[in-house]
C-alpha cells in the first residue's frame, strides 16, 4: 500500500512565517501545488518560484492551463513543477445585490484536477507534485462563508440561532469538509499536505482548563462554529509559528494536553528546545517527525 504524504496544520498570526514553511517545503521537495485565498494576497511568499511556476489567477490562466483530452475530460496541461493558483470571489458584492461567489467551488474543481492527475500515475512512481499547500485555509473559510451568503442572500453572516442560521452554518461546514476531503484524498497519493491558518483565541471555558494551561492560551484556527473544533483532526500534527524576542522565526509543536491525542506523528524530543520549538524549515521539521 502506498505511503501517504504527511500533513500539518500551521497556525500563526500574520508575519510569523506560515507561508515561509510552505515555501521551504516546495523548495525541499522540488514540486508542488499551492492554493491561495483570498486571491493573490499570499503570492509574494512564493516569488522565488515564479520562473518555474504556472501562476493561475484569472479565467484566461485557467483556459490556458486546463485542457480537455479526446474523451472530454479536463486535465492540467502544464509541465512546470510548481502550480500557484489563486481563488477569490471577485463578483461577490452582497450590498450591491451581486451574489456570485464561486471561489471555493473553483478551488475544489482545481483540487479534483490535481487528484485525477495523481490517481492516474502508477503506484510505484513518485507523485507528480510532492506538496499540496493551502495558504490560507482560513481564507478558504472566508470563501465558504461567501458561498453560503450568496446562496442564502445574506449581506453578513447570520446569528446561528436566527433565521437561516442553521442552514448557513451547516452549509459552511459541509463546503469546507468537501474541500478538506479533496486535500486529504490528494495526500493519499504521497503528496504532503500543509495548510496555513490565521488564529483566534479560544473562549475561556471550564471544559478546556487544565492544571497548568488555561483556556485563554488555546490558539485555534480562525474558522466559524463546529468546523473549528474538527480541523486539527484532519492533520497528522499541528504546528504554531512565531517570532521570538530576538527576532528569530520558529515553529512550535505542542501535544494537546486536554484531549486524548489522535496524532499519528510526534516530534523527536531531541529536535525540540525546552519550549517545544525548532527551526521553521521543512527539512528540519520533516526530519523531526516520528511515527508513533
Amino acid at each position: 500500500m502506498r505511503e501517504p504524504g504527511r500533513s500539518a496544520l500551521v497556525l500563526g498570526p500574520s508575519g510569523s512565517g506560515k507561508s515561509h514553511l510552505l515555501a521551504s517545503a516546495l523548495e525541499a521537495e522540488g514540486s508542488g501545488v499551492i492554493l491561495m485565498a483570498m486571491g493573490l494576497d499570499e503570492v509574494e511568499s512564493y516569488r522565488r518560484f515564479y520562473p518555474e511556476a504556472e501562476i493561475v489567477a484569472t479565467q484566461a490562466d485557467v483556459e490556458r492551463v486546463v485542457q480537455k483530452d479526446d474523451a472530454g475530460n479536463a486535465f492540467i496541461a502544464s509541465e512546470k513543477p510548481y502550480l500557484l493558483a489563486a481563488f477569490d470571489d471577485d463578483d461577490f458584492y452582497p450590498s450591491l445585490g451581486q451574489w456570485k461567489a464561486k471561489g471555493l467551488e473553483n478551488a475544489v474543481q482545481w483540487l479534483r484536477l490535481v487528484y485525477a492527475a495523481l490517481a492516474k500515475q502508477p503506484s510505484d512512481q513518485e507523485p507528480r507534485w510532492k506538496v499540496l499547500g493551502v495558504d490560507t485555509y482560513t481564507g478558504f473559510g472566508e470563501l465558504a462563508g461567501n458561498a453560503m451568503s450568496g446562496k442564502l442572500k445574506f449581506i453578513s453572516p447570520p446569528k446561528a440561532r436566527g433565521e437561516g442560521g442553521a442552514e448557513y452554518y451547516v452549509g459552511y461546514r459541509n463546503k469546507l469538509i468537501e474541500f478538506s476531503r479533496a486535500c486529504r484524498a490528494i495526500r493519499g497519493f504521497g503528496c504532503h499536505w500543509l495548510a496555513t491558518a490565521h488564529v483566534q483565541m479560544r473562549e475561556a471555558s471550564d471544559t478546556y482548563t487544565g492544571q497548568d494551561v488555561s483556556a485563554k492560551e488555546q490558539q485555534m484556527a480562525m474558522f466559524t462554529g463546529a468546523f473549528r473544533e474538527q480541523v486539527p483532526s484532519f492533520f497528522d500534527l499541528v504546528l504554531y509559528t512565531g517570532v521570538s524576542s530576538n527576532g528569530k522565526h520558529y515553529a512550535q509543536w505542542q501535544a494537546d494536553k486536554f484531549r486524548h491525542s489522535k496524532s499519528r506523528y510526534v516530534m523527536d524530543p531531541a529536535a525540540l528546545d525546552a519550549k517545544g520549538r525548532l527551526e521553521n524549515d521543512w527539512p528540519t521539521i520533516s526530519k523531526a517527525i516520528l511515527s508513533t
Binding site: 487528484y115 495523481l118 476531503r181 486529504r184 484524498a185 490528494i186 489522535k262 499519528r264
Partner: protein, 323 residues
Amino acid sequence: MEQLAPYLDAGLVVLSPTRGELAARCHRRHLLSDRLHLRPRVADKSPALTFGGSVHVARDAFWEEATDPDGYELPERRPRALEAAQEAFRSHYPDPGLDYHTVDLGMLLLAEYAKNAKLGGVVPGDWKILHREQRFHYDLPLSDSATLRIYYTIDTLLENAEGELCIMDLKTASKLSGLWRASQTNAIQIRAYKALEEARLGRPISYVQVEGLQKKDDSGRMEYVWADASWTPSYVSEALQLLKGIGLADFRFLSTAGGSFDSALAAALTNPALATFNQMDCKSYYYTCPFYDLCYSDPELRIGLALSDYEVDVQDYLDQGAD
C-alpha cells in the same frame, strides 16, 4: 493477490463465524477490514470490542484456576480464581480504559462473575470443561475448485455425567435486554458454533448457552441465555449455508478484483456488484463504522481517502481467518 488472500491459489477462502456475522451485516465493511486488512491510521478501536476481549482473557484465567486437571470445578478456589482473573484483565486491558469501559468496571464485572457463574449455566448437573478457548477449523466445499475454511474458537465446551455436551459462550453487553436475548438466540455465529462442533466431534451438542454480563448501571448483572432451546437441525445448518454464501461472494471478489491491492480497493469501494453496502449498519452497537467517512464521500475520491487515512494491519493479515 498474495497479500490479499495467501491461500487463494490453493483454492482456500478463510473465514470465521464472527467475520461472517460482520459480512452478513455489511459486505463492504467485511471486505475492507477482513480481506484488505485496512485499519484507520489513527487508532480508534471499538471500546466495547477491546473491553470484551479482555473480559474473555480474564474468564479463561478464572476457569484455569477454578478447575482441576480433569476440568471439574473446585468451588473453594473461587477467591483465588477471581484474583487470577482480575490480574489477567489488568495486564491485558489498556489503562485507564476507553469511555465508560474502565478498569474499575472490569473489576466489578469479574467480581460478579466469580459470585454468580455456574459451570453448566442453567442446566443443572455435574459438568466438566473439555476445552477452553481452543481454535479449530472446518472445511466446506464452495465449488469443484474452491473450499471455505472456517476457523472458530469456542469459549468453553462442557460435558456432563450423562455424556451430554454444552457450548458456553461469554458476551458482555450494555444491557441484558429482550432485544439482546433475541439477538443471541438468532446470531449466525452461535448457530455456526453448534454446527461446526457437531461436525468436528461427530456427536450432537445438547445445549448452547450464552453467559451474559451487563455493563451499564454498574450492576455487573449476569444472565444465562439458553440459545438453542427452539433450534431445529435445519435452522442450525442454515448458519453454515450463510457462511458458505459469504465465502462464495468473497471468492468472487478475490478472483475478479484484478490481481492487485489497488484494483481490489477500488472494487471494494466503488463496485456495488462485487461489494454491497448496508447503510443501516453504519452506526450499530453504538459505534460508528471505521469506514463511515469513506462510504459517505464522493466515490471518485474514495481511493485517495483510503490511502490517506488507512493502513494495512500486517498482524491481521498474518492472523487471517482468526476469530
